[in-house]
Point group: C2
Chain length 405, copies 2
């Protein structure tokens, strides 16, 4: 399309050069997120926009906070949705809790642990990384060894590593934080709504998530929650939070009782989250976690019949997201392109050291269904056959056996 030159002043592009109205293809989103959505969530997104100070919208915010508390397993007063994606949620936690010179002990066994360490350093923290193998969970002893008797203000770990498909056992790491007298921060991006998350029972001080994983809502918001101890830490800060946009001491004036203007909330995105949370709680959290476990087990059983193996040992494996070793001789990118073009199925590739050798298949939220398990297996079978592989077994029979077990 035409773009203006420096001297042309206001430009009216000829309508002929305009792109057509969007008609995005209908994909089955089986990657690491965004995930398959319930049509009711997309419908909520398109409901009439309210002003951010309209009393009707403020009531919606109250309902959102109550539902967020329920899925996070917390009574934390400061529970809200930040106006950015999951990574903004991560940054919110560090920029508010860390002051320059603070010491942070951070588990790093994937992209998102690595990102936490980077974000913490940019907030002025001195970071000790607890380095673990990608594709394995971290142990309390690894944290203790890395801490090496030092003083720490904050311990952080990823509950569900989206880059590797690893589920982290939380209480042992919390125990280390307690030994150190440190605040405890948990990344719940890919676990919230898919695995039990119980902030209060675990003693988590700060947690963040995203909307586009197991909550099955479009990307764009970051649910987050802060314990009274974290709020006290924020109140005791000696320095201003470096980010005005993410400053909780200001934002809680809008989400709290005061209702003072901070920034214009992303109204329609919050409608979608309201509906996604409603559907999540309507199903019941325990039933939802069990559904994710059921379909993950059937999917992995089917994978074996394709000659594919999950990258993560069973005891440390996520249900919403399965990482798979790409077999020797299979072209990763070509296979994923085939899935997209022949089946309209999106799966994810690997990141970092897993780039080119790992597939990530999400069965998240509304996408965790028998239909998608069998479609995913069928599509993977098709993609492997298209590269001339012969398959050792019948994946649908294997999945069916898992469902009747």
């Amino acid at each position: 399309m035409a773009t203006p030159t420096a001297t042309s002043g206001p430009v009216t592009s000829p309508a002929a050069a305009l792109p057509a109205a969007l008609e995005p293809p209908q994909r089955v989103l089986m990657g690491p997120g965004p995930s398959v959505m319930d049509p009711a969530v997309l419908a909520a997104l398109a409901k009439p926009t309210l002003g951010h100070l309209d009393p009707a919208f403020l009531r919606i915010m109250d309902e959102l906070r109550a539902m967020l508390r329920a899925v996070f397993g917390t009574t934390n007063h400061l529970t809200l949705a930040m106006s950015g994606t999951g990574s903004a949620g991560m940054e919110t936690c560090f920029v508010n809790l860390v002051e320059p010179g603070d010491r942070a002990l951070i588990g790093v066994n994937g992209v998102f642990g690595t990102r936490m360490a980077e974000v913490a350093r940019r907030c002025g923290a001195t970071v000790t990384e607890v380095k673990g193998e990608w594709g394995r969970a971290l142990t309390a002893d690894q944290f203790r060894a890395a801490a090496d008797g030092g003083r720490y203000d904050l311990v952080a770990v990823v509950h569900a590593e989206t880059s590797t498909g690893v589920l982290q056992d939380v209480p042992p790491i919390k125990a280390v934080a307690d030994e150190l007298g440190a605040l405890f921060l948990l990344d719940c991006v890919t676990s919230l709504g898919g695995h039990p998350v119980t902030l209060d029972a675990w003693g988590v001080d700060a947690a963040y998530s995203g909307t586009q994983k197991c909550l099955s809502c479009p990307p764009g918001l970051a649910p987050a929650s802060f314990s009274p101890r974290a709020v006290e830490r924020i109140q005791r800060r000696k320095t201003k939070v470096a980010s005005w946009y993410l400053d909780l001491s200001l934002i809680q004036g809008y989400w709290g009782e005061e209702r003072s203007y901070h920034h214009t909330a992303p109204i329609n995105m919050l409608y979608a989250l309201h509906e996604a949370l409603r559907l999540t709680l309507q199903e019941g959290l325990d039933k939802r976690y069990a559904r994710h476990a059921l379909h993950a087990r059937a999917f992995v059983t089917g994978l074996a019949a394709l000659g594919l193996a999950p990258r993560v040992p069973l005891a440390e494996r996520l249900n919403p997201l399965t990482s798979i070793a790409v077999p020797e001789g299979v072209d990763d990118a070509a296979a994923r392109r085939y899935l997209l073009e022949a089946y309209g199925v999106e799966i994810g590739g690997g990141l970092g050291p897993m780039k080119g050798n790992t597939w990530r298949v999400g069965l998240m939220g509304a996408g965790s269904t028998r239909r998608n398990v069998e479609l995913g297996l069928a599509a993977l079978a098709g993609a492997l056959r298209a590269q001339g592989r012969s398959l050792p077994g019948d994946p649908l029979a294997a999945a069916a056996a898992a469902y009747s077990a």
Copy 2:
């Protein structure tokens, strides 16, 4: 609704306690934003979500960039939509362009100039505020006097002060930036799509906007654009950008040719912006600016018949947003509540020193229509009568006369 206690573990809230599905009332949004939306924009919002690395979505991003360049009046390569609201756009500009110790000269004649100064300070800048009267534009001489012969790295001003309804003449302030050899930053939140914005002709180095004003898209994204000179400044930084989430050196890897993953883009919000930009350019920018001018003039003419006066002199007045002095003896909050309850019309109150004594009426984007001009006048007439005021004239006749003039 039920919330968990610290010992209860995962909580399944009883469905009976769940809020009902949302049915937000249909308002006529005549405040300072969000604004009235075209139904096609809300429909685009609800289209099927694509993955953020899907080739079909990457094409949509290319179209978005081309359309953003057209409305910004620029050929800047680094033109994109940040994944946050307009305030995140402001923070993006400062956090990327400012390094600790830099000196910034910032015009402050309303809430958003005040906010720029605060954000700049949090990024480590030494800020000189060019203090002007709220409700009046700033002059180049005010900038020169405040600069007082000092060295500055950055000059910033608000093009359209949403808090006061003032339109700033841009070239004289750019001239001061040139005299100082400083980068020039412009807040275009309430002007983009409603008043001519010509970044290249003006020599603007960095600009940001919001989606929920004259583009008539829901809130949640911040269009932004950076000149080659600004990009060079970013490349020459000695320190890392304090915000990982807003770091343009990383984000341009996703929006640019590299297509590398940074964070999961707010897909559906970007659909809505695509449609909003398409409708804007389909109308034609010059016609759109003229439409905003026409309806603003008719509205202000009608106000006189209600005994209401705009706060800002004609030559400095915004078209998309008119600020009005609340007459002595009229209850501001009661009047706005009446407008909302009796007419479903939202207007804004004042901020800062204008709180309680100013109304802000937006005729923005799809909301800048004769229908809304006359509805707004009728509703204001009703609200004033409800407080026992007698009205000096016939606002509809006055508006009609303005339209036929």
